[in-house]
């Protein structure tokens, strides 16, 4: 494509918005065509398509990102919207509130700490630690946390993708080893560790597993969002 046409098109944010919509729709239909493989989420297919298109067009990521901000701005109200499913899951919380209230703070803290500890032992610098700390938190909330900690959003997104995809086989393997067949526990573990990717997988198992996964996902998100930035500031990692 001649450079002049490209610069005309990229002068409007609608070009980035259109590319994102196209990649998202195509990614979803390819995902269905491939038989919904759990190791290749639709969002990864869409992201690969989009990255490939940007590379082919020679469009710098920052130019694309400026236009795509018109979409990203909607993340604010979309995160607020998560309050609705949270309200709808309150009956599940009441049903098992005691074990969940003990398990959640420990498990959500460890989900962040194990990875941070290993990365720190292997000598990763602070900006990387800040970017992977929210690895088990659902993306819209995790982006807010990572901005607070001073991490980079693209690395966070990569961490979310790796964590989410890895959680699925890890949960089924561990459940088999520990002789767990309670769908509520498997669902909760999928949502707590594997955020939205794990939750989608849990809905494939059963609606109950799905409900507990979204519960685990939202509670981990809230817990981490409220405490991680405070803990970070207290320990003084960021300074």
């Amino acid at each position: 494509m001649p450079a002049s046409v490209l610069s005309t098109l990229t002068s409007t944010p609608l070009f980035s918005v259109g590319l994102t919509l196209a990649a998202f729709l195509l990614g979803n239909s390819l995902f269905k065509r491939f038989g919904k493989p759990s190791w290749l989420p639709a969002i990864l297919i869409a992201a690969l398509l989009l990255a490939g298109t940007l590379a082919l067009l020679g469009l710098p990521y920052t130019t694309y990102q400026q236009g795509a901000n018109w979409l990203t701005i909607l993340l604010g109200p979309a995160t607020v919207a998560l309050g609705m499913p949270l309200y709808q899951q309150l009956p599940h919380i009441r049903e098992l509130w005691r074990p969940l209230a003990i398990c959640l703070p420990i498990a959500a803290t460890l989900a962040a700490c194990y990875a941070l500890w290993i990365a720190w032992l292997m000598g990763s610098p602070t900006p990387i630690l800040a970017s992977i700390a929210a690895k088990s938190v659902t993306a819209p909330i995790a982006m807010g946390i990572t901005e607070q900690l001073g991490g980079t959003i693209p690395l966070l997104m990569g961490s979310l993708l790796i964590t989410g995809v890895a959680t699925i086989p890890f949960v089924s393997l561990t459940a088999r080893l520990l002789n767990i067949d309670d769908e509520r526990l498997i669902g909760f573990a999928l949502g707590l560790n594997g955020h939205a990717i794990g939750t989608v997988r849990a809905f494939d198992i059963s609606p109950t597993a799905g409900a507990f996964a979204s519960l685990g996902m939202s509670l981990t998100g809230i817990f981490t969002a409220l405490l991680l930035p405070l803990a970070w500031r207290l320990i003084g990692v960021g300074s």
Partner: protein
């Protein structure tokens, strides 16, 4: 136009979150504050108004698309992060395996006790 009405509610809760953060200095994002405020409001109301559901449902369905611009960015930092990837991958994979084991083990113990009683 129930969806538009609901969207105005969601945006208002988000802006309210900004105000709360401005005055409290809490290091959280306004989306999270807005989400908790929305959930608390729904508890008080005892139901989900149709306008809020009409705006919230499609927005939640679009979440994956809204985070895509961020996901794509990871392919453009591959070179920048060269030499760091081994540590990052090990931390994420091993950390996730350990936390999955901890979660399931804890849940089994806690819920097993609750059921036995």
């Amino acid at each position: 136009m129930p969806a538009l009405n609901g969207l105005l509610w969601l945006i208002s809760f988000w802006l309210l979150g900004e105000v709360v953060i401005h005055f409290s200095g809490l290091p959280v994002s306004s989306g999270v504050v807005g989400m908790l405020l929305l959930c608390a409001t729904l508890v008080v109301m005892g139901r989900v108004p149709t306008s809020i559901a009409a705006a919230a449902q499609p927005l939640i369905a679009l979440l994956a698309m809204l985070i895509m611009p961020g996901v794509v960015g990871v392919f453009f930092i591959l070179d920048e992060m060269a030499g760091q990837w081994v540590a990052i991958f090990t931390a994420l994979l091993l950390g996730t395996l350990l936390s999955v084991i901890t979660t399931l083990w804890l849940l089994k113990r806690l819920i097993g006790q609750a059921n036995a009683r």
